[in-house]
Subunit: 151 residues, 12 copies
């Protein structure tokens, strides 16, 4: 059933500022460009993808529940919430769809507070450090996991 290949990509706080935000760290690619690249690859692979950016922790929690209820896989770049939001962690732990953590940068090579991810223990896998490619690799991984479930 092809339509089950559905994926939600969630961007956390400050990611809407990509392109102008600390470009020496995060590059000049904008969030729209990331979404476009994801859409292109999704089209190529024959899967459906949706995007949302939320600055609010509570909004991300609610969005995770809604996506999972629709049977959608979840790709999440939680931004700074990665490092302390146990509410996001609980939301991810509460759902059983494929869930993947992504980061543009290698968070383990940065400030010490960024080297700890409280959501990493409850996702299926993590990809960090490849810029936009982190998202594209995650999309491939999510599709593989969805296909494995369907089989």
């Amino acid at each position: 059933m092809k339509s089950a290949r559905a994926i939600s990509v969630f961007h956390g706080p400050n990611l809407n500022a990509l392109g102008s935000r600390e470009p020496d760290i995060y590059g000049t690619t904008t969030l729209d460009q990331i979404n476009a690249a994801l859409q292109a690859l999704a089209d190529d692979m024959g899967c459906e993808v949706r995007f949302a950016q939320h600055s609010s922790e509570g909004a991300l929690v609610d969005a995770i529940h809604a996506a999972a209820q629709g049977g959608r896989a979840i790709i999440l770049n939680a931004g700074a919430y990665t490092h302390y939001s146990y509410a996001l962690r609980d939301a991810l732990a509460a759902v059983t769809v494929p869930k993947i953590e992504v980061h543009l940068t290698n968070i383990y090579a940065r400030e010490s507070f960024r080297r700890r991810s409280v959501i990493a223990p409850v996702v299926h896998g993590s990809i960090s450090g490849f810029g936009v490619n982190s998202y594209l690799l995650a999309l491939r991984a999510a599709v593989s996991m969805l296909d494995a479930i369907r089989d």
Copy 2:
């Protein structure tokens, strides 16, 4: 003055998913069933009770201020915010009405990050580990405290 026996019960993030969320930990009782049990006991004891679930930290902060301005006692299951939300702590510290922390599970028997409650120091009392009964015992305690104030 009977009408002063008014209590607000606040449920934090992910509690709306009760029943389907990690049922081996949280059981299969839904939030609606918890609220119904509370309503029944409240009717029995002749007090008024209201319910709200908020995923957003800020919304919980605002709700605590509003409840206290109405002279209502507060029963709060802050979910994961229990462990790091100093904003909730400040909100609770700012109000003087009876305020009680509840948890369905015994948080001190779980993962290490759950064994610390940053709001415990600013509530009047804490009850954890009795499932739905945690809420019911809290309702009894809140009524006792309100009655003591009225005397």
Copy 3:
């Protein structure tokens, strides 16, 4: 079978001094008055309750084993042993009867060494901060648990 509703309440070190001990923290109620209030509620609920105060860690360990062998639920205010007695923890972990931790004060709002309970991870639930009412709520919870077992 009514006679199975049997509960033991254990008071740890220094609780015999209640009433005169640091009354600004612990109030002026004596241990005899707490026991009388528990007896009254127990009579009301049709259950049997026994009381004991022990200053010695070893005596508390032995009392827990004896109560559990008689199938009695356990309500324990371990006093300062709460914070470091792994022997008490092992005793509680060794028994499977309903077991509830109580504290007169909100221990999480006091000195840092009191904010850690080494027995909390091995009891079924904890109630703290409601003064004498902590014990009364615990009695209600214990009866509920015993009834659930009997069903």
Copy 4:
């Protein structure tokens, strides 16, 4: 260009309760009175100032982005978010306008969790402990920084 002397003052969670909230710590001045004092000094110095209070972390993050896009300097009392919101930290790090942290009280003389500011490393300067005057001094500092940029 005089009109560039524009400043946004953001108040975080629980600051709307100023005046009634723990008055022995925070005093009896209300948030409206603080805003009025800031407006008076702004009028005096010929600069434009706007005010907003947000209980939600995400709303503060969005407000910081919006203010910076308008070229406005930022004065922020983040309340309890000061101590753990890496999302706010990232928002502040993402903008290059003058940005100043203020606190009514001397946070370094209070509970240990308040002695750490996770946003201090990404602002230009910090002022704490002078009550309403903390805000007024921050306004002077912000104007100086804006003037230095214009030169």
Copy 5:
């Protein structure tokens, strides 16, 4: 009223072995010799003194309550309990008579676990490192404190 000059000296676990126990650390003086030296000085100063050695933590707790009820000052060498017995700490905190901690050796120059005294914060003063003289100086200090109370 001369008879009010009454003092109890309590020796904790392992102090009964003084003389043969690790003599390179604790010397060859026995507990009986220490008590005799204290009795001689007490006779000289016209005060009454009693001695007891207890290996059990609970017994020490009970002895402190009994001594305080009789209005006696307390001199305590808690031995190893010094470093972890919060039950002893609570017992000392519960009484208001003069209470002094003594140690034969300079505990701060020994193994790291001995460098922390959990009872030091609740006694009036501490004397360590002078061998038998630690006790004799404590007796002088206790008499001064009792005399100050009587005045």
Copy 6:
């Protein structure tokens, strides 16, 4: 002199519950069965062995002093006291007879608080993880040490 081959085996708190206590961790062998196995091996090796179980820390301290005064080697399973009883540590440090620490389970593979033994630094050797065999190996080791002393 054969009669000098005398050994005391001390069991600490909760070990009297062996057999029924957490059998998935501690097995179903009772303390009486352990003692019988030790007695059989002792008979076989021609040495005398005595057993005692004490729940009280102070009683264990006194028993160690008494055994050592009789020139008996000491085999001690201190149970939970292993992890925090500096009084036991001091008692063991005070005696010079062969002294061996045993544990049924591999304490270093269990909860973090069990991974620290405060008595390990003052015994001659430690054996853990072999169930009843831990005691039997300790008996062999104790006899070897006593024989070495006699030579």
Copy 7:
């Protein structure tokens, strides 16, 4: 120049035991099967790949230097060395070819000592938690990086 698309895949200690080693954690796929899957994908993408397994820390260090001197990208599953081998870290830091860390399991969801990677800060990216797919995604990422260099 197509031939520059050369990649070395290094497997660290204990990975030769894959298939039989703790299969509930690592699955039943053998190292030969992983290598075969990598070879198939490499053939598909038109790149050359080589494999080696080394149990010795020093051998891995030398292999990294040799691969980099040949201009080969490096994919490394360092096994347990991930968590403490600063020698491997230095070796990776010393080379500038594309270098990617892979793990079969999500190391951040396992024992605490496995949640720290000392090599993560010096690689270009990390992929963990996808089983064999971790390697395949890494191969794609490495080829992208090599192609970017060639452009």
Copy 8:
């Protein structure tokens, strides 16, 4: 009484080297220029100000006592002593005149050892990160506090 508007400004160790010392961190303004700017503002506000630089911790302690005995407000840039001098902390705690901590740089954005101020808990307020303006804002704050006392 105008003459009571008297303020002492103390500069700690290494501040005499301002201008040549690590100019990329501390700028090229000299200590004389800072003092001149303070004098100009003081003249403008009608208050009296005195300056002193001390490299010695003891000299700073004595200077604080002397200034306070003369009823002078204190502005202190303690330099590196900020981070470990409990003697300075005690000196500031011992005096009740207005006392303000200033720093040229934002110490919370620098090396970890600079992120802790042991004197912050005993001053009335802290200002850091505004270069020379830190001192000028402190002067305004000190005058406000003195005026409030005189009223």
Copy 9:
């Protein structure tokens, strides 16, 4: 089947220097003498034993895999690797034959870095502090475990 009573004894780095290495700590017995004592006891008990000393971490890892594949029990004195080699830990965790950790000295009574064994959590038991006898007791324990498996 008698021939299955096969045991490998592995000595880690620096143990080849026994006899001349820090004799006040490790005694004057050489590694050959230890092996001879083990051989004698093995002959006596009718089991087969082999010995190897490896300075290289990787060689020990490989030797453990090889021994386990041959169904041999493992006695390991890992020397300093005991304290940090997660590679050895993984190797031991990967095999299911009886595996015992031995140490000549009581490592828990020595320098703090030696008080932590990273392999202790994955062996069946540990014996330390009895000199050569540590190995002999381990041999007895290994034979018991092999016999239990055969039954």
Copy 10:
């Protein structure tokens, strides 16, 4: 030889402010009154005593060397230097005369930074918590130690 009964009493930083400094903590007794009480007791006991107050760490170091070269016992109230001055510690460790640490208050019952004395490990004994009496008891102890040396 009577003249050898010579003692130097050193007062550290801020002690010159005694009487006016935080009188609720340190009382209203001045340093001159403490010195007078010491002089009176010294006259009574037939020993010679000298006094000095130094705010400078270096001056205290030099004074300790000078006193010891004259064979004088040392009584030191190091004030805040107690908690961090390893220079004072080295000075005390360098001399072999009787050396006693005194504190007016019970430093172990105050702020956490005051609960650590870096000089305690290198003095012969410590006395704290008895106000002026701390000094007088120290004088008695010093004379006893000097007399013991002379014997």
Copy 11:
């Protein structure tokens, strides 16, 4: 006896890559050039010197034992093993010849993990931060120590 002036210089992992490895940190000098400079100075001073580079921890351990058995002084740059190899530490502790630790860079001014040397406590001296000169100074120091032994 001139021939006794024999020294072994050991280079640890990654040092063979000197010259091309992170030249902004380690410079462009190669290991051969370092060895040549050492040889030249050795010729000048009339001593014999040998060089070896080992990437393997075990090989370095063995080389230290061999050199010491030949009475040779040891100069060791352990590279990253400096920070965690207790096996090297034990090897160095086991030998009594002059032994000196060298580093090209100032390891204490670099990343935090490099600021700890586990071998520093067991060598005679350490030299770091002078580039090639670190080795040359060490050679001088080693010769001095050898000459002192011969005298």
Copy 12:
């Protein structure tokens, strides 16, 4: 220009007591003898050297500034200040002349508080553990660095 080869050697607190101070640790060489050895080597190398001992932290700070203003290299044995004086650290960081830290003993092999040097990160190099030779090697290093600057 030969006269530029000028070096200042600073000795910190307690070093004036060398020879009599803890001779088992520091040896019996006096400070005058160290200075004489330095003078002899300086004469030999044709450089000018000056010496000073300061017990006061502030005096050392001022001396460092003065030496650097004269273009002199600095050799500093900061004694106990090494471990906590951030004022000295700032002074050294403020100057750009060659600056070398020396210690008679190997501080990294002593008490834990001595194993941390807060000045090591801001000097050019460190030499410890060679007794007087530490100073002589430092003089050679300083001359090399001065010569390199002159070239």
